[in-house]
C-alpha cells in the first residue's frame, strides 16, 4: 500500500473510531439527555461507516449498490445535521428567553431565504456530472450545505452581535458542524460544477477528522464557570429586589 493509500485509509477510519470514543464520552457524561440529536448523529455515523466499509470490501456488492447506499447514508446524515442545528438553536433560545420573541422570526426568515437561494441555484445551475445519481447527490449536498452553512453563520453573527456567551458544549458542537459545513459548501459547490481531483476528498475527510477532535475536546472539557464571586445578601436588599422584579414583570 502506498503512503497516500495509508493516509486515505487513516482519514476514512480514524474519525469514526474517534466518534466511537465521542459516544462513550457522551454516555459517561450523560450528554445524550442534553443533546439527543447529536448523540443519534454520532451513533449513526459510526454505524454507517461500518456498513459502508464492509460493503466497499465485499466482492458481492456492486459499485452501483455502494453508491446508492452512500447516497442514503448521506441523506440521513444531512437530515440529522439539520436536527443538530435545531438542537443548537433550542439550547440558545432556552438560555436567553428574550431571544424567543425576536430571534425565532429572524431564523425562520433566514431559513426561507436560504432555501429559496439554494433551490434557485439547484434549478438554474444544475451541474456537469453525467451520472444522474451522483449529480443528484452533489446538487442535494450543495443545497444542504448552503442551508447549513448559511444558518450557522446567521446564528454565529447574531449571537456575536448580541454578545451572547455560548455554553462550552453547545459552542463546540456548533463550531464543529459549522467548520464542516463551510468546507462541505466549498467542495460541494465546486463538485457540482467541475470534476475535482481525488485529493480534494482528503480535505473533506481531514476536516471531518478535525471536527470530531473538536467535539471530543469541547464535550470532554468542563463547562466554564463564572469568574465573579457572589456574596451573602442582606435581607433588605432582597426585598428591594423583589419589588423591582415585580415592577418589571408588570411592565
Amino acid at each position: 500500500m502506498t503512503l497516500l493509500g495509508m493516509v486515505w485509509y487513516y482519514l476514512w477510519i480514524a474519525p469514526y473510531v474517534l466518534q466511537g470514543v465521542l459516544l462513550l464520552v457522551m454516555v459517561r457524561r450523560r450528554f445524550y439527555r442534553q443533546f439527543p440529536v447529536f448523540f443519534a448523529y454520532t451513533a449513526f455515523e459510526v454505524c454507517q461507516f461500518v456498513v459502508l466499509f464492509a460493503m466497499d470490501h465485499s466482492a458481492a456488492v456492486s459499485a452501483e449498490e455502494y453508491v446508492h447506499a452512500y447516497g442514503w447514508a448521506l441523506a440521513v446524515s444531512t437530515a440529522l445535521r439539520f436536527g443538530i442545528l435545531h438542537e443548537i438553536l433550542a439550547h440558545l433560545f432556552r438560555d436567553y428567553a428574550a431571544l424567543g420573541h425576536f430571534g425565532k422570526p429572524i431564523f425562520r426568515a433566514a431559513t426561507v431565504a436560504l432555501l429559496f437561494a439554494a433551490l434557485a441555484l439547484a434549478v438554474y445551475t444544475g451541474g456537469n456530472n453525467a451520472n444522474g445519481v451522483m449529480l443528484a447527490v452533489h446538487v442535494a449536498d450543495r443545497t444542504a450545505s448552503i442551508l447549513q452553512c448559511g444558518l450557522l453563520m446567521c446564528l454565529f453573527l447574531f449571537s456575536t452581535y448580541l454578545g451572547l456567551s455560548w455554553r462550552n458544549h453547545v459552542f463546540g458542537i456548533a463550531l464543529g458542524v459549522g467548520i464542516f459545513a463551510s468546507v462541505e459548501l466549498i467542495v460541494s459547490a465546486m463538485r457540482a460544477q467541475i470534476t475535482l481531483p481525488y485529493f480534494v476528498d482528503f480535505l473533506t475527510m481531514g476536516t471531518y477528522h478535525c471536527c470530531v477532535l473538536l467535539w471530543i475536546f469541547y464535550l470532554w472539557a468542563p463547562e466554564r464557570s463564572t469568574q465573579f464571586t457572589l456574596r451573602v445578601l442582606p435581607e433588605t436588599d432582597l426585598e428591594i429586589w423583589n419589588q423591582e422584579l415585580q415592577r418589571l414583570l408588570h411592565q
Binding site: R142, G163, L185, T226, Q227, F228
Partner: protein
C-alpha cells in the same frame, strides 16, 4: 460559474470567521473592576435631547434649510455614537447578568436573568434604531423615534445599579457612576 465562485468565497469567509470566533473565546471578564473599565459613560438626557422631535422642529423653524440639514446630520451622527456606546455597555452588562444568573442565590440569579433580557433587548433596539438613524441621515425628511432606546437603557442601568448593590455593596456605586 459565478455562483460557484460566490459560494466558495462565502464558504472561505465562514471558515475564517469560525476560526477567529474560536480563538476569541478566551476573552472574559474576571472581576467587577474589569467590568467597570470596559463601561463607557452615556448621558441619557443628552441623547434624549438629540432625538427630541420638538427640538428638531425648533431647529427646523429657526434655521435656514441648508444649515438645518447640516446640523441635523451632525446631531444624528452624535445620536448614533450614543447608541453604539449604550449598546457596547449592554454587551458588557450582559456578561454581568450571565455571571449573576449562575449564582446559587435565586434573587441574584433572577436579577441576572432580567438584566440579560434587558441587555439583549437594548442590543436589538440599538441595531434597529441605528439602521433608522442612518436612513434619516440619508433621507433627512424621515421622522425618527429612538426615544425607546433611552427608556430601555435607563431601565437596564437601573437594574445594574440594583444588582451591583446586591452583590457588591462597595463597588456597585462605581458602576452606577459610570452608567
Amino acid at each position: 460559474m459565478i455562483s460557484t465562485l460566490v459560494l466558495v468565497v462565502f464558504g472561505l469567509l465562514a471558515l475564517l470567521f469560525l476560526i477567529r470566533l474560536a480563538k476569541g473565546r478566551s476573552s472574559t471578564i474576571n472581576s467587577l473592576d474589569d467590568l467597570t473599565e470596559r463601561l463607557r459613560p452615556v448621558d441619557v438626557e443628552a441623547f434624549r435631547n438629540l432625538v427630541d422631535p420638538d427640538e428638531e422642529e425648533f431647529l427646523r423653524t429657526s434655521l435656514p434649510p441648508t444649515e438645518f440639514r447640516a446640523i441635523h446630520r451632525e446631531r444624528l451622527h452624535a445620536a448614533v455614537d450614543y447608541i453604539s456606546c449604550a449598546a457596547q455597555n449592554a454587551a458588557v452588562l450582559l456578561r454581568l447578568g450571565e455571571a449573576a444568573r449562575q449564582s446559587p442565590d435565586p434573587a441574584i440569579a433572577e436579577a441576572g436573568e432580567t438584566l440579560v433580557d434587558s441587555a439583549i433587548r437594548l442590543r436589538l433596539y440599538a441595531f434597529h434604531a441605528m439602521g433608522r438613524i442612518y436612513l434619516g441621515i440619508l433621507l433627512p425628511g424621515v421622522r425618527l423615534s429612538p426615544v425607546s432606546i433611552a427608556e430601555s437603557y435607563e431601565r437596564m442601568t437601573g437594574l445594574v445599579i440594583q444588582l451591583g448593590r446586591l452583590q457588591y455593596p462597595a463597588t456597585g456605586a462605581r458602576v452606577a457612576a459610570v452608567l
